[in-house]
Symmetry: C3
Subunit: 139 residues, 3 copies
């Protein structure tokens, strides 16, 4: 058993930019040489989040619409009133979707479904550089 920690670097556009990070995670699992265990993905940020989806333009646009509707960027936010940085909606969206995801791997392969990709969602209101944490515990 061992613990292996890596990072994934991303450049994002912000504003609910959704990126497919499945291949980067697969490559990390492969590089560690571990046969089986759990991958913990974590975004060290309060304005971005992780989940899975079928990564095709329809689903991506449908997911973005949901967040536009339930956490509308055009409204008043107490965070913006206090700090003036205009990304109050980004914080609420990120808290709701969540910063972590855990995926088992077996025989050096992620146990993802055929149409299921891992996505990073950057809810901030500007371009960002991001470093995600990818930690494997396994053998």
């Amino acid at each position: 058993m061992s613990v292996q920690t890596r990072t994934i670097s991303l450049s994002t556009q912000g504003n609910a930019d959704i990126q497919d990070i499945t291949n980067q995670i697969m490559q990390i699992v492969d590089e560690t040489g571990l046969e089986k265990g759990t991958v913990t993905l974590f975004t060290p940020s309060a304005t971005s989040a992780l989940t899975t989806i079928e990564y095709e333009s329809g689903c991506i646009s449908d997911l973005r619409r949901l967040f536009d509707e339930i956490v509308d960027p055009q409204r008043h936010y107490a965070h913006n009133a206090r700090w003036g940085d205009g990304n109050g909606h980004s914080h609420v969206r990120a808290a709701l979707l969540g910063p972590s995801l855990s995926i088992p791997f077996v025989d050096r392969r992620l146990t993802l479904g055929t149409w299921q990709q891992v996505i990073f969602v950057d809810f901030d209101n500007r371009q960002r550089r991001r470093e995600l944490v990818v930690q494997l515990i396994g053998e």
Copy 2:
């Protein structure tokens, strides 16, 4: 320390069919013989999700109403327009609720609350057979 991976097979009705999978997980923990560690649950699917709730008909119906309201199946979805499979809402709901859940166990028992059950929610728009991944890391 070891990694133990099992699966749970389910037949679901789709359309936000919510099933209590607590007993199946407890049984797996028991069968592995591990004393303590973390159970990672993962659904290898882009149209289903996992969480916990008090599994009684009132809570189940209240949770289903939430998804009917914030991700209404009767609306236009870009996914449906592109692929014609009618489950655009299922993808958005599953991405929001999330595919993974991590639960510590101690003395061979899940650390669940008295009124807390683990549920699998199948958001797809038809009957499905599902295989969930249940992975334990512990000793």
Copy 3:
């Protein structure tokens, strides 16, 4: 490699009382003496949840507004009709936000972002005492 399990005790006001538990988790990581691994946080309750946010009064109030809007406590809930305990909305909110969170630690430090705190959200409709489970697997 070892498994270390601790608890955090909290007194909450309920009604979406949001508490910053980052320091308690940091202290537990420090006390175990483990260098690197994954912390699994779990609330053994069906009316509370965990996530991360920038813990300042603006974000906290914006997040509470979201839940007031999408899971309004003033509406009819089937859970309340059946059990009469008035916390039907608490159950739906907790199921949506989720009971678990996984955070990698490296060099005895949580891999949180600079403005990112771990929060416990008590959605129940009254004061509660809570015991959260904090389990580390690492070396």
